[in-house]
C-alpha cells in the first residue's frame, strides 16, 4: 500500500501544476512544462508523431513536454480544449486535417479552422484506393465492371473522413456507383478487404503498404498531385482524368491570440527539429514520413482545405 499511497500523493501534488495557468511573459518562455494535446487515441499515428515531436522539441526548449490525449467527438474534444486553454503558448495542439478541418465542417463544435495559428506541418500522407489482388487489375477495369453492376461493389471507410471523401469523389468523377459500408476505423476496412467482406478500401499508403508488398492487395489509384515514390506503379487519379486530390496532414498549432514572439519561438524550434536527420529517421521508422511545411504555409492550408472539403462533402 505504501507505493500506491506514494503515487497518490505524487498525483495530488502534481494536480495544481497541471490545472493552474501562470502568466509568464514571452521573454521567459518557456518557463514551465508545455502540454501537447493530442485529440486522438494513444498509440495512433498522430499520437506517435506528437510524442516524438514533443520529446525532440522539449530538448530544444529546455522544458518537459507532457503529451495528453483528449479523445472524442471526431477530435473536437481535444481541439476545443486547446482553443479554450490560456493563449500563452503552454498548450500546443497536435492537429490533423480530421479534427482541424473536417470535424468543423460537420457541425458547430465551438471552433473554426481559422481560430488557430499553424506552427508547422510535420507530415502529409498519400491516400490509395486498394483492392484484393485477385480482383481488378486496374482502375479502368474497376470502372468498367462497376458501370455494368451499379451499386454491387462496396468500399469500407469511416464516413466523412478524407479517405471517404476521396473515394466518393472518385466514384462521382468516374460516374460509377459504389456502395459505402461505414467502418469504425481504418484498420477494420483493410481487414474487410483481406477477408473478402469488402471490395475496396481507401486508406493511407503506409497502412496498406505491407499488403501491397506481400501481394495480398493491389493499389488502383493514389489521390496525390504526383505519384508517390513509395508506390511508383500506382497511377494518380489525375493521370486517369479524375481531378480528385486529398492528403491528410498532421502538424502543430496554437490558438489565435498567442503572443507573436512565442509563436515565432515555437516555429523556430519545430523547424530545427523537423530538419534534424536523426528525428526524420525516427519518424520514418515508425511508418510515417516527414513532410515539413513552415508556419505560414501550414496556416494557409486551414482555410484552403476547409473550403475544398466543405464543397466535397455536400
Amino acid at each position: 500500500m505504501k507505493t500506491t499511497r506514494r503515487i497518490l500523493i505524487g498525483a495530488l501534488l502534481a494536480l495544481p501544476l497541471a490545472t493552474h495557468a501562470f502568466t509568464v511573459s514571452a521573454q521567459q518562455y518557456p518557463a514551465k512544462p508545455i502540454t501537447f494535446i493530442v485529440p486522438w487515441p494513444a498509440g495512433g499515428t498522430t499520437d506517435i508523431i506528437g510524442r516524438l515531436l514533443g520529446e525532440a522539441m522539449s530538448k530544444e526548449l529546455g522544458q518537459p513536454v507532457a503529451v495528453v490525449n483528449r479523445v472524442g467527438g471526431g477530435g473536437a474534444v481535444g481541439t476545443k480544449a486547446a482553443f479554450d486553454a490560456p493563449k500563452d503558448g503552454y498548450t500546443v495542439l497536435v492537429t490533423t486535417s480530421g479534427n482541424h478541418v473536417l470535424t468543423p465542417i460537420k457541425g458547430n463544435v465551438g471552433y473554426q479552422p481559422d481560430d488557430f495559428i499553424g506552427i508547422g506541418q510535420i507530415s502529409s500522407r498519400t491516400l490509395i484506393l486498394a483492392t484484393k489482388s485477385d480482383r481488378w487489375k486496374s482502375a479502368r477495369e474497376l470502372i468498367a465492371d462497376a458501370k455494368a453492376n451499379p451499386g454491387k461493389f462496396t468500399f469500407g471507410a469511416v464516413p466523412n473522413v478524407l479517405p471517404f471523401l476521396v473515394a466518393s469523389g472518385f466514384a462521382r468523377a468516374a460516374d460509377i456507383k459504389l456502395t459505402h459500408v461505414p467502418q469504425t476505423g481504418g484498420a477494420p476496412g483493410v481487414t474487410g478487404v483481406l477477408g473478402g467482406h469488402l471490395d475496396l478500401v481507401p486508406e493511407s499508403l503506409e497502412s496498406v503498404q505491407q499488403h501491397l508488398k506481400s501481394g495480398a492487395m493491389r493499389g488502383l489509384l493514389v489521390f496525390n498531385e504526383a505519384r508517390d515514390p513509395a508506390a511508383p506503379d500506382v497511377p494518380t487519379a489525375k493521370e486517369l482524368g479524375f481531378d480528385v486530390v486529398g492528403n491528410p496532414w498532421t502538424g502543430l498549432a496554437v490558438a489565435k491570440g498567442t503572443p507573436e514572439p512565442i509563436v515565432a519561438r515555437l516555429r523556430d524550434v519545430m523547424a530545427k527539429v523537423a530538419k534534424d536527420p536523426a528525428f526524420v529517421a525516427t519518424v520514418e521508422r515508425s511508418g510515417a514520413s516527414v513532410e515539413y511545411l513552415d508556419g505560414p504555409a501550414f496556416t494557409a492550408l486551414f482555410s484552403r482545405d476547409f473550403e475544398k472539403f466543405k464543397a466535397a462533402s455536400q
Binding site: R70, G72, P182, Q210, K213, A216
Partner: protein
C-alpha cells in the same frame, strides 16, 4: 525447431530477462491501479523501447501487456476495483470471496488461471497461428453480429432466478452503449448537446463506478445507519491457499475458458473484456453450483481470468500473420515492430524467422516470469485485507478519481464515474445484477455495427445471416441457449 535453441539463448540474456521483469512489474502496478489502463501504459512506454534492441523493446511491451492483464485481477479481488475492464468479471466473485475471508485462495486461483490461459494462448500462437488467422479472417460483419447475439444470450444464463431484473439491466447496458457518436455515420446520439458526451461513456468509468464507487456508497450508507454488522463487513483474514478439491474444481474451468479466449483474441475488434464475460457466462452454464456465481464462486474467478489472459497471445496472431492489429495494444505494438524495421505480415516469418522464434520464446518466458513474480508478490498483496474499510475506501475512492482523471484528463469522466456509482448502488439496493449491464454495454456496439454493415452489404436482405455458415451456426446456438434457459427457468431452478 533449429531456430528455437538459439532463440532460447537470446531471450535468456540478462538484459532481456531484466526488461521483461520490469515490464511485468510496471504492467501489474498499472493493471492494479484503477483507471490507468494497459493500452496507455504500452503507449507511454513505446518511445522508451525505441532505444532498446528490438527483442528487448518488444519483450518489455509484452511484459507490460501480460502483467497488466493479470494485475487488474488483484485490485478486483481485494478491493472490488477492477483495475482493467477485463477484470470486471473477476470482481463479481473475487471480492465476494475476499469478504468471506478467502482472499488468499481467490488471488491464487486468479494467478494460476491467468498463467494457464496465457500459456495456452502462447502455445496456440506458436502452433496454430496460420489456421487460426484464416478462421479469424472469415469473421465479417454478419459473423460479428451472430457472435454478438450468441454472447448476449449469456445475459439470460446469468440472470436465471432473477430473469426480469437481469434482462432490464442488460437492455439498459445496451442503451448506455448507444450514447455518443454513432459508430458508423458519426452523428451524435443521446448527448443532449453536450460535447463531452460525444465520445460516449468510457467502459472504465462505468466499471469503476458500479463496483468501487457503488461499494463506497453502500458502505457510507451502512455506516450512517449503524448497520456495519450486516453490510460491508470486512474479514481481516486472508484465509488459506488452494486445496486439492479447489484445483479439481477450477482446472477444468481454466482449460475450457482458454480456447474460447484464444479464438476471441484472434478475431480483430473483440478483446479481453468480452472474453472474460463470455467465459464467466459459459462457466456458470456448465457449473454444478451455478447458484454460487456472483456470491463467491472460485469457478467464476478461474473462468474470467483464464479467459482474459488467453487473449494476450492470440491477439498477436492476426498481427504477425496478416499485419492486422486486432485491438489498441496490438496497434501500438505494430508501431514498435515497425520502428525496429520488422514489418508484421506473412513475410516476417521468412525474412525474420529468427526474430519470430525469439518473440515466441519471449512470450512463453514472460508467462513463466509472471507466475513467479505474481507468486512472490502474493503475501504482499493479501496484506490489503488487513486495512479496515473506513481507511481503505477513502483511499480507493481517491485512487479511482486520480486514475480516471490521469487517463482521460477530463473532469467530466469523474462525474460520469460518480453517476455510475449511484447507479450501481441503486442496482444493488433493488436487486438488479451488475454483470448483464456490463455485458450489454460491451456487446451493444458489436451487434449494432455488425447488423448495420451486414444489411448494407446484402442491400437489406436478411439472407446474409443464414447463407453464411459461421453466422448461421452462431444464431442456431443462440436460439438453443434461449430455449434451454427458458425451460430451466420454467422448471423453477432458482439461483
Amino acid at each position: 525447431m533449429e531456430l528455437i535453441l538459439p532463440a532460447i539463448g537470446e531471450v535468456m540474456q540478462p538484459i532481456n530477462l531484466a526488461v521483461m521483469t520490469i515490464g511485468l512489474i510496471i504492467g501489474m502496478a498499472i493493471g492494479a491501479i484503477p483507471g490507468l489502463n494497459v493500452p496507455l501504459a504500452v503507449a507511454i512506454s513505446l518511445p522508451i523501447t525505441f532505444h532498446l534492441a528490438p527483442l528487448a523493446g518488444i519483450a518489455m511491451l509484452v511484459g507490460i501487456y501480460k502483467g497488466g492483464t493479470y494485475g487488474g485481477s488483484i485490485s478486483a479481488i481485494l478491493i472490488n476495483v477492477p483495475g482493467t475492464p477485463a477484470a470486471g468479471a473477476t470482481a463479481l466473485d473475487g471480492y465476494a470471496l475476499t469478504q468471506q475471508g478467502h482472499a488468499s485462495k481467490a488471488l491464487r486461483v486468479a494467478l494460476y488461471s491467468s498463467f494457464t490461459g496465457g500459456l495456452i494462448s502462447d502455445l496456440s500462437l506458436i502452433m496454430f497461428a496460420i489456421p487460426v488467422a484464416m478462421l479469424a479472417l472469415k469473421i465479417g460483419p454478419a459473423e460479428n453480429f451472430a457472435l454478438g447475439i450468441l454472447a448476449l444470450t449469456l445475459i439470460g444464463v446469468l440472470s436465471e432466478g432473477n430473469m426480469v431484473k437481469g434482462l432490464i439491466a442488460g437492455a439498459f447496458g445496451i442503451l448506455l452503449s448507444t450514447v455518443g457518436l454513432d459508430p458508423l455515420n458519426g452523428e451524435t446520439r443521446l448527448t443532449f448537446g453536450l460535447l463531452d458526451l460525444s465520445g460516449g461513456f468510457q467502459f472504465i468509468s462505468l466499471i469503476i463506478g458500479v463496483f468501487a464507487i457503488a461499494e463506497a456508497f453502500a458502505l457510507a450508507h451502512a455506516t450512517a445507519g449503524r448497520l456495519v454488522a450486516s453490510v460491508g463487513q470486512r474479514v481481516s483474514a486472508a484465509g488459506k491457499g488452494m486445496s486439492a478439491a479447489d484445483w479439481r474444481l477450477c482446472l477444468p474451468v481454466m482449460l475450457r475458458a482458454a480456447p474460447v479466449g484464444v479464438f476471441i483474441g484472434a478475431v480483430p475488434g473483440l478483446g479481453s473484456a468480452i472474453s472474460a464475460f463470455i467465459n464467466y457466462g459459459i462457466a456458470r452454464n456448465f457449473s454444478r453450483e451455478p447458484e454460487k456465481f456472483g456470491k463467491g464462486s472460485l469457478e467464476g474467478v478461474a473462468a474470467a481470468e483464464s479467459g482474459n489472459n488467453a487473449v494476450c497471445g492470440s491477439t498477436f496472431i492476426p498481427l504477425l500473420t496478416l499485419g492486422i492489429p486486432g485491438d489498441t495494444i496490438t496497434a501500438i505494438m505494430l508501431g514498435a515492430f515497425m520502428v525496429h524495421g520488422l514489418i508484421p505480415g506473412p513475410a516476417l516469418f521468412t525474412a525474420n524467422a529468427d526474430f519470430v522464434a525469439a518473440f515466441f520464446v519471449a512470450m512463453l518466458v514472460s508467462s513463466i516470469l509472471m507466475l513467479a513474480i505474481g507468486r512472490l508478490g502474493l503475501p504482499l498483496f493479501v496484506q490489503a485485507v488487513r486495512i479496515p474499510n473506513k481507511v481503505l475506501f477513502p483511499i480507493v475512492v481517491a485512487l479511482c478519481m486520480t486514475g480516471v482523471y490521469a487517463s482521460s484528463s477530463s473532469y467530466f469522466d469523474l462525474y460520469v464515474m460518480l453517476g455510475f456509482g449511484l447507479l450501481g448502488y441503486g442496482m444493488k439496493r433493488f436487486g438488479f445484477p451488475v454483470a448483464p449491464l456490463l455485458i450489454g454495454f460491451i456487446l451493444g456496439p458489436i451487434v449494432e455495427v455488425g447488423l448495420r454493415q451486414s444489411l448494407i452489404i446484402s442491400r437489406g436482405s436478411l439472407e446474409i445471416f443464414v447463407t453464411r455458415p459461421i453466422a448461421l451456426i452462431c444464431l442456431l446456438l443462440a436460439a438453443m441457449v434461449v430455449t434451454w434457459v427458458a425451460i430451466r427457468q420454467n422448471r423453477g431452478i432458482k439461483s
